[in-house]
Subunit: 803 residues, 2 copies
């Protein structure tokens, strides 16, 4: 009795389904109660159906192939391997990834109490997030330390070598020597310049030329080695890496970009590139290196290796760790990750980034690469207050920084575009060597460009004290008895200062020009803008005259710092994170206000000339599919104007839920190149059921062919819960419900595009279906949106495509 | 010829519409081309229709009332006043607000070139965002300065009065005196304690009792005045305000919560409450005050006053300014706003918050309320490094902080619940006076509790130096010749230190107990937890023994700082922002690592006992509709299980697009209490057209009745672009398309609730419609979600309602 009732209910359900599919006249129920009734019926259907799918299915299938179809169903309920993964250069579906992760989490949680082993596994899973960021932090800190030490040593190798211990750099070499006096701590017998070694003489024009030659020779060798390594082993290791990491974090797949080869080659070539004296820095590359570490460690944990969204959380934390070690600024690193790099940044990631940055900074501090217990060479502290009238020059520095940023971005992008479009770009090795040669030849004569950029920044940032031996400090040299030209305090500037300022101005111009050509070369390179305008401040020495002579009323280092921040702000358009980085870099808590003023001004001025920062500009140059969260969409277009198919296009390729055969399905897939297909109730009603991905369909058909008997070309494919009623002699149908996304995102055709863009950004969608009064009209993908935005901005819509 | 063609096209359109409404058999076109054709038809229909709605309408209307119906349409195209505003205690629709703002922006931009006046207006509009945050920052800074000075003066009033200048506080009074020696700078003839004034004697038990009495008297008076002011003038001015501000920022409307009365009363009573010596701080209230300023200034700018979403951007910036002045930490304020308070935080708001915080800090610095050129009284700088082994006590401090936080939250919530549910809560004035009396009576004998909390923190944080007169520093008093018991450095602790430690422990216990009862009182009160555990550190004096005697190996102030951070972390569960605040507060750049370690530990330990911070706990206690972005939704329910109507409910109240009369519409509205109604094509097809809000419908009907002739109870209401064909004698129909939201958010019934919750959080929705295969099934509102989450957590679902 009960079984018969069950049968009739199942039968009803099945016939209900077949009626639904056969025609659109399925309104069996009418009047006010329709929603209620419909709801109840459907509810029964699904809840019962889910409880015992096999038996229901068998009963309603007309009694034909009961046992095997049960078996078939069981087979299909298992996840098909490969479903839910992504191809290279495709966009991930954040929502689906997050659902997958929650599902996995629930599975582990429900098993937890079964055995001690499962409990251990659940603990491991719960802690794996912290473990992976800890490992990433440790590795980033260690690598940063190694890079710092190696680059320092190789940089000094250009000038000479320590005979007593080859592995010592200049400073370490002389530090151990007891013949060194403090005043001339750079000179000691153990350290031999190349001229001394080869010609046997330390002075005279011959030795100068010898040193000059060896300097250039080493610089060229390093640059050549770097570019060859990159070209042969890991083409992804070139450049700053930040534009690509931004794109990857926004949900794009670039396989191998964060792999072990990239990591190895990037680490080695970064050392070479920095040592070669090219006008570049290690900040961007260190972020890339940290992200590689994060990616590699995430493979140890299935929670992260199998989920693209979760992996990106690790990468966000890794980029915070990268900035943390690059600038010695853990909090700034977290803010950088939040403001500049990350796309999806939940609060949990904030804490983990914080932790990763902390661990990395801690490791670097333990390695102590600079021997000053600080994370960076150019850590400084000021203690003099600043005065209100100084805000004027600070704001002027901001204006200058903004102008410089806008100019730099334009010039650099123009150069990179030229490189891409002309024959010139075909010879990257030659280009690198040319730039390295010019850099080395021009840099050597000027002491400010000859030294390492970090050392230069240190010298500029540091206040002049009695122990300072820099030429810039000679105007205060009356306190320093060892100076040649010592003068009285009423004459604040000496010829030494003037020549230093001249050299600095030349160095500034040189650095500006070279950086434009260097950023974008096929070697690891970061923006080392901080160095740039650092110099600018020296004109403000003039202010000195306003104060009482000899009093410490203006801190030149502060102007250097503010100038550096303004320039970096103009180039990258960062605000809060930049202020925090500079402020952590220099310990100048007092100076937040001037920093803020300069950085804000520089951003405003820069934005007036073009809203993109250098990273966004490079993303657009390379055509990555990146939907910027900062840019506002201000047009009035509606979803119907952006969706495909357009007026002149062929109709939208759709699948019907239960009347296609395998052959028809394969034809649709092979004739189109879309990544996914909406599934509808029937061609007549156009009512949307779900969305199926091309990759998943292909995998599922392959899999069914291999594993299930009786699946033929004329097998019926169905996406419904229950198989459609088929003639007795038809082959076994193929159920594809498991690959059907039954909760596709839909918007109506009247939805303004601004809302659609918002949804895409905030939820991280790949595609969205467009309906009108409940019927399917079309589809909008992320690329449609990017193309539409390019069109609206009067750019070539095809430039959006990744190339 | 052309006109006839137009007519026939219009006719086709109109008949198309009527077919759509009459039955669901509208599938006139079939086969593969259906989408394409449908799309084209609709497109024509709409684009032409929009271009000349009047004439099309007239022609298709059967030639009846051509001129008046054109007039009618014109009237309706104007925005109806009041549509798009919100009732009190309702949730805003972020998406709609943002669309409104973009629309306004476009209108201004398109007019810009018309005249110089319009151009000025557009400039004003573009800068109004910066203007309003500047004004907010200025006002917050100024108010914070006034509050600081006033509270300081009134606090000293409890102990005595400056006879030479009544308006001087104790320190200022003696500062000007030339009879003050540095060692006894607290004592000067100008400053008279109450005993001196009244009894004429400064020493002896009588004067002690007199001072005790006056202290208690003033404390009680201040508390009484504060509670009365709050009760009579601005009931919203009580409490910390942060839970409510979080709720408001998440999109809830509480009228008057940020109004001018609240601002005035909160400012006055905050001074009174702090001066009364209650165990509370001014941080939360300062955030509330700053938000009031932001809200009031936003009324000057139509861009912000007329848009609830934009107004919330100002409030986010204002809360950053509030924290900035409360702790003297501009960056920390921005992070606090980001991490703890804000809901929707675009990068633009980040910059503006940054700016507001900067301006506020700047103003406060200019006012210089503490005479130390710092933003807070307890600004300190340490310069001694810390050692790796010290991480152990720091982590222990974190554990302690977490435990304390969990305990505090439970105890405070239990007490507040008791207050709400029992008769006791009926007498707030009595309660405040009782607490104030107990506080004052217990506090006076102990010097650490007698003084202002900020002063106490300053004393605890500060390193002992030769100039320090605190009892705690007596063990180093050999450098300070004026001490009574001076001892040698080999004996690090003196009786003075021991008694100080005893007093501190008592003060700690006392503060712990009192804060539990104080937080939640009906006076302005903030959490002043930093003060709390600050004391704890003194047990770590024991560590001193490990180091060489006399060496400066452990900084007690550092322990105080870390302990304070850990406790505040345990109570509020903030991480990054808290570290940044403490670090800005104290200038201890070196100490980020210990701070991070302690704060992370305290958060973990606290979370083990309950995931909510104190603010979330209070939000839940008060039943505000707040959808927390931090809490993860981990259940497997589907949208169909959460949506209404449930199985046992009456069917969903829906409107059909063109066959209701005004009377029927009014009946539906009056019989239900829903805030909005889905509009469908027809009862039979259940295909969704849009969503109309109750408030908008009511306003539109009222408006039509008043302004349009011929609208009667049996007038047909239609939401379509064109009026339905009606019998010749029927009254004029009422078009409500302008109030119809044609892009309602929909999800399918199979959508997992975790995705739905995500959509609600990220897009800030009010409601979402649920469909199945293109038909409307039900609706999910924010309250449904909150109710469902409460149910899942085994809480009473009805506690979610605002009360």
């Amino acid at each position: 009795m009960e079984s018969e009732q069950l049968f009739s209910r199942s039968y009803y359900r099945n016939s209900y389904n077949s009626i639904t599919s056969a025609s659109s006249d399925e309104e069996l129920l009418d009047g006010a109660g329709v929603i209620m009734d419909f709801h109840t019926t459907e509810d029964d259907n699904l809840l019962d159906g889910d409880a015992s799918p096999g038996s229901n299915y068998a009963m309603s299938n007309g009694g034909g192939v009961v046992s095997s179809s049960t078996h078939l169903l069981d087979l299909l309920e298992e996840p098909i391997p490969g479903v839910g993964t992504y191809d290279d250069f495709h966009t991930i579906d954040w929502v689906r990834e997050k659902c997958k992760d929650r599902e996995r989490h629930r599975k582990i949680n429900s098993k937890k109490k079964e055995s001690a082993w499962e409990f251990t596994k659940s603990l491991y899973d719960a802690w794996s997030g912290w473990l992976v960021v800890t490992l990433t932090g440790l590795a980033s800190g260690a690598l940063a330390g190694v890079i710092d030490i190696a680059a320092d040593w190789m940089n000094d190798l250009k000038e000479g070598v320590c005979l007593s211990a080859m592995w010592f750099n200049h400073e370490q070499c002389c530090w151990g020597s007891n013949e060194t006096t403090f005043a001339e701590r750079d000179k000691c017998p153990q350290w031999n310049s190349w001229a001394e070694l080869i010609l046997g003489q330390a002075e005279g024009p011959g030795s100068y030329i010898m040193n000059y030659f060896m300097y250039t020779f080493w610089a060229l060798s390093f640059a050549f080695l770097a570019v060859c390594l990159v070209k042969v082993f890991a083409p992804y290791a070139c450049g700053s890496g930040i534009p690509e990491i931004k794109t990857i974090l926004s949900g794009f797949i670039i396989r191998g970009y964060l792999g072990k080869w990239t990591l190895m080659i990037k680490t080695i070539t970064l050392v070479l590139a920095v040592a070669s004296g090219l006008s570049l820095g290690k900040e961007g590359p260190l972020v890339h290196v940290a992200c590689c570490c994060g990616n590699i460690f995430s493979y140890l944990f299935p929670k992260y290796s199998k989920n693209e969204a979760k992996k990106r959380e690790v990468l966000s934390a890794a980029s915070a760790a990268g900035v943390s070690v690059a600038f010695g600024a853990p909090i700034g690193g977290v803010l950088f990750s939040l403001e500049e790099v990350s796309y999806y940044f939940p609060l949990k990631t904030l804490w983990r980034s914080f932790f990763a940055a902390l661990v990395a900074a801690f490791v670097l501090r333990s390695i102590n690469p600079f021997g000053n217990s600080r994370l960076v060479l150019f850590y400084v502290e000021y203690h003099t207050p600043w005065y209100l009238f100084e805000l004027v020059p600070f704001i002027l520095l901001g204006v200058f920084g903004g102008l410089w940023g806008a100019f730099f971005i334009r010039a650099n992008i123009a150069w990179c575009r030229r490189r891409k479009s002309t024959r010139f770009g075909k010879y990257p090795v030659l280009e690198v060597i040319t730039v390295a040669a010019i850099t080395a030849i021009v840099a050597f004569p000027n002491p400010y460009t000859r030294q390492n950029t970090s050392e230069l920044i240190k010298e500029l940032f540091t206040d002049c004290g009695p122990l300072e031996s820099s030429q810039l400090c000679q105007y205060r040299s009356q306190m320093n008895g060892t100076r040649a030209y010592s003068d009285v305090s009423s004459q604040p500037s000496t010829p030494g200062v003037y020549s230093a300022m001249w050299q600095l101005c030349l160095a500034l111009i040189f650095k500006i020009v070279m950086t434009i050509f260097t950023f974008g070369l096929k070697v690891p390179s970061g923006l080392f803008i901080p160095s740039m305008l650092a110099y600018y401040h020296h004109d403000w020495f003039l202010f000195k005259e306003w104060c009482e002579v000899g009093a410490d009323c203006i801190t030149p280092g502060l102007y250097a710092m503010v100038g550096a921040a303004a320039c970096l702000g103009g180039v990258t358009r960062m605000t809060v994170s930049l202020v925090v980085i500079v402020f952590e870099l220099t310990g100048g808590l007092e100076y937040i206000v001037p920093l803020m003023a300069a950085v804000m001004t520089s951003k405003w001025v820069g934005d007036a000339f073009g809203r993109e920062g250098i990273y966004e500009a490079h993303i657009r140059l390379n055509g990555y599919p990146f939907l910027d969260a900062k840019e506002e969409f201000t047009h009035t277009t509606l979803a119907r104007e952006v969706m495909r198919p357009r007026r002149s296009d062929p109709p939208l390729a759709v699948l019907t839920q239960d009347d296609l055969t395998v052959e028809e399905l394969q034809t649709i897939i092979s004739e189109t190149s879309y990544n996914g297909f909406p599934v509808i109730v029937s061609k007549e009603s156009q009512r949307l059921v779900g969305f199926a991905l091309r990759r998943d369909i292909t995998i599922a058909i392959e899999n069914a062919r291999r594993k299930q008997e009786g699946i033929m070309l004329n097998s019926r494919v169905y996406f419904t819960q229950h198989a459609p009623t088929l003639p007795a002699d038809s082959p076994r149908p193929l159920k594809l419900r498991s690959i059907l996304d039954m909760s596709p995102f839909t918007v109506t055709d009247h939805t303004p595009m601004e809302i659609v863009v918002d949804i895409f950004r905030k939820l991280g969608l790949r595609q969205c279906l467009v309906t009108h009064n409940g019927r399917l009209l079309g589809i909008i993908t992320k690329k449609d949106i990017l193309r539409h935005m390019a069109q609206m901005a009067n750019q070539d819509p095809e430039s959006i495509m990744f190339n």
